[in-house]
Amino acid sequence: MSDSSHSEGKRNLGDPLLPVGLGVHTLMHRWARAALTSLGVAAVIAVYLGVSGGVGEAGPDVRAPFEALSGRIIVQQAVEGYSEAEAYPALSSLLAESDAEAILAMRGADPLTSSSVLFVPLARVASPGEPPAVLAVGIEPGHEVAFLDGLPVGDGQAALSDSMSVILGPRAARYFAGAGACETVMLGAVIELAGAEFEVVGVLEPGTALTDHAVILPLRTAQNLFLRPGVVSAVILHVSDPASAGPVAAAIRERFPGLQVIGGESQGELEEPAPEIESGVVSFFEALKITVLLVAVLMISIVMVISVADQRRQIGILRAMGAGRPLIAGLVLTQAMVLSVAGTLLAWPVYALVMLSLRSVLAEANIEITLADLLPSWARLFVTALLVGGLASLWPAWQAVRVTPLEALRAE
């Protein structure tokens, strides 16, 4: 800032862009320091991206299947205590097919868009709260809409054509492609499930975590394959008239008091899944994110405190020339923001490179990633960067605005 600050200072001190110009100029004057600081911040923000984009997003994924269920009623077996936390789909839930048929036949249910379903996990749960990495969903052929609820197929058809046909969610399709040449299973391919061969007749568009991981097959085939004759996991009901959802749910509760009925409370609004089961993991990742951001704030703060100490003389001159405290604070704020935004912009390629290089390792834990999965919400990231910069500038800015012209010039 030394030489040009005088010329810049000669500009109108009321110019709102003056602090920005001065701030950027000061950073360029100490470019090596600024570059190193941005690099340090980038390392930390890359970690923030990793934590936010990974298991830390478990919370929203847990709620996604529920949001997708809007307008439907789910009936499953209630297991005292833990079952509420398990929510939907309850993998332990098994109810007699005769009960399921009685529920489907209840007045108000739309038989065409309702179905009994059987859920069987085919791979481990990769993240808490999420469905299994691959989930077999047995459903009555012709009633696929009960589970899909209008989710379109990207390729093929949304109907199970025969007893050995399957429809795959996009993530399940990638899972079955395995180490093959293709990234995903193509239409017409044959996959093996529990020793039996199935033809892929449809691949779904991305939807919720539940549909993305699904392997949809005919209910009867699933019952035979997984030795579950005469039982189903749940009943998914659509009601003909949305206004009758409440009475239908109430009627099911009355007739089957031992079963858990989700939905229909107030015209299709669903209970949220009880979050306490994954609250430990969510708190853990929230604490990680907060710590990482605080480290970034402190990094920029340290450099800005030093920077303000270096610029005491220049700040004193500016004040002597009539610059107000907002201008001085703006000067510090600009420098902190630029360091934070630069660090954040550098962070994404670092994060993406690290994650892509770990693809094979992540695949072992059934976590499949593509470059598109790694794209952050840029608006949110930008706001985070501004917040980090803003917080980091608080103390240095306070120090800067307390510099008096007399004191700074006396020190000379």
Binding site: P128, P132, G280, E364
Partner: protein
């Protein structure tokens, strides 16, 4: 002799604000390290405990969906007819009293990535409980299911159902409801691994009728007769049942350990990145400090300080900043653990060794961060600097 510590301390005190911020930044990074390394240690310790409890047994399951993949133990997709399970149990070399067909059903989702279900129903043949329990002992009651409505609970499951009943703990003989049916607690397990802590053991036939699966089981857990060779028995069963997956329990746990490797890499990656960031900022702080201290360094050199003394002066400053940060990391971790994390996974016993680790790592970070500034400092020429004065 030059009092290096004193000079370094005075330099840091002179720039109190920046030193305090640097120490705080290092402390937060240290806290992060303790949390993540402690979490990994919790996983590894649990796998060791599971291995101790299950070692020496063979698990027979239906193979997984994708060829060549193992989902570890227990498998919730695995199901086989009871007749097949009985045939496996009748194989030569099998120690029948400590072997059993088992039915596993998750009663609650896992609370941890790649962890077992928070509550796991285990249907097992009465009199053959050792097939699942192995080395796990009961803390109260008996390790056997005495009647068709009896249950043995793991520590976590007992705590959960006690809370449901509104009491601090469950007593032997107390009742609890599961899937609309009354059960009596006949045994409470000692704390073991997460798998056992969430277990709800009940007679196999009861579990089958409760979940409408009269003729299916998840798999078989078997022990081998002491006189027989475990590998031979394993091969013989594999030859007889080529469609089933027959593996030593230890190998299955190894599979889980391999899956957890992802978290190992992820957490270690986070720690490395954050410590790298700290090292870079520390280097920036020290580079600036060296530029500001050129006059002091030149004076020290003029008074007889060697280049080694100057180098040590910078390294000592870096070490003091990182060590102070890493020391403060402990109370910060403790506060975060009590408030935000509520003792989630990482206990004091697991965290303390990680703190000692991070103290040592702090010195490595300090040495790396001090390299460039120290190089600059030793190149300060006293004549040139004093001439400029």
């Amino acid at each position: 002799m030059i009092p290096l510590w004193d000079v370094a301390l005075r330099s840091l005190k002179h720039r109190a604000a920046r030193s305090a911020l640097t120490v705080l930044g290092v402390a937060l990074a240290g806290q992060l390290y303790i949390t993540l390394a402690g979490t990994l240690a919790a996983y590894e310790e649990d796998l060791d405990r599971q291995l101790q409890a299950m070692g020496g047994r063979i698990v027979v399951q239906q193979p997984m969906a994708r060829a060549g993949e193992n989902e570890g133990f227990p498998s919730f997709s695995s199901s086989m007819p009871s007749d097949t399970a009985e045939a496996v149990l009748s194989s030569p070399g099998v120690d029948r009293p400590s072997s059993s067909a088992v039915l596993f059903l998750p009663l609650a989702r896992p609370t941890l990535p790649d962890g077992p279900p928070a509550a796991l129903l285990v249907g097992i043949e009465p009199g053959h409980e050792a097939a699942f329990l192995g080395g796990v002992t009961v803390g109260a009651g008996q390790p056997s299911l005495s009647s068709e409505n009896s249950v043995i609970l793991g520590e976590e499951a007992a705590g959960y159902y006690a809370a449901q009943a509104g009491s601090a703990s469950l007593a032997i003989g107390q009742s609890l409801r599961l899937v609309g049916q009354e059960f009596t607690v006949t045994g409470l397990l000692e704390p073991a691994s997460w798998l056992y802590d969430g277990a709800v053991l009940m007679p196999l036939s009861t579990a089958q009728s409760l979940f409408s699966l009269p003729t299916a089981v998840s798999g078989v857990m078997l022990s081998v007769d002491p006189a027989a060779d475990i590998a031979e028995v394993q091969h013989a069963i594999q030859a007889q049942f080529p469609d089933l997956q027959i593996r030593a329990a230890g190998d299955l746990i190894e599979d889980v350990s391999r899956i957890i490797n992802t978290y190992r890499i992820f957490f270690r990656g986070i720690n490395s990145m954050v410590l790298s960031g700290v090292a870079i900022i520390l280097a920036v702080v020290l580079l600036i400090a060296v530029s500001e201290q050129r006059r002091e360094i030149a004076t020290l050199r003029a008074l007889g300080a060697t280049r080694w003394n100057v180098l040590a002066h910078v390294v000592v400053q870096a070490s003091l900043l990182t060590l102070a940060g890493m020391v403060i990391a402990w109370p910060i971790w403790w506060m975060v653990s009590l408030t935000l994390l509520r003792d989630f996974l990482v206990t004091f016993n697991l965290a303390f060794p990680r703190w000692v680790e991070v103290l040592a790592l702090g010195l490595v970070v300090a040495a790396l961060a001090a390299a460039a500034p120290a190089w600059r400092a030793v190149r300060v020429d006293p004549i040139e600097v004093l001439r400029d004065e």
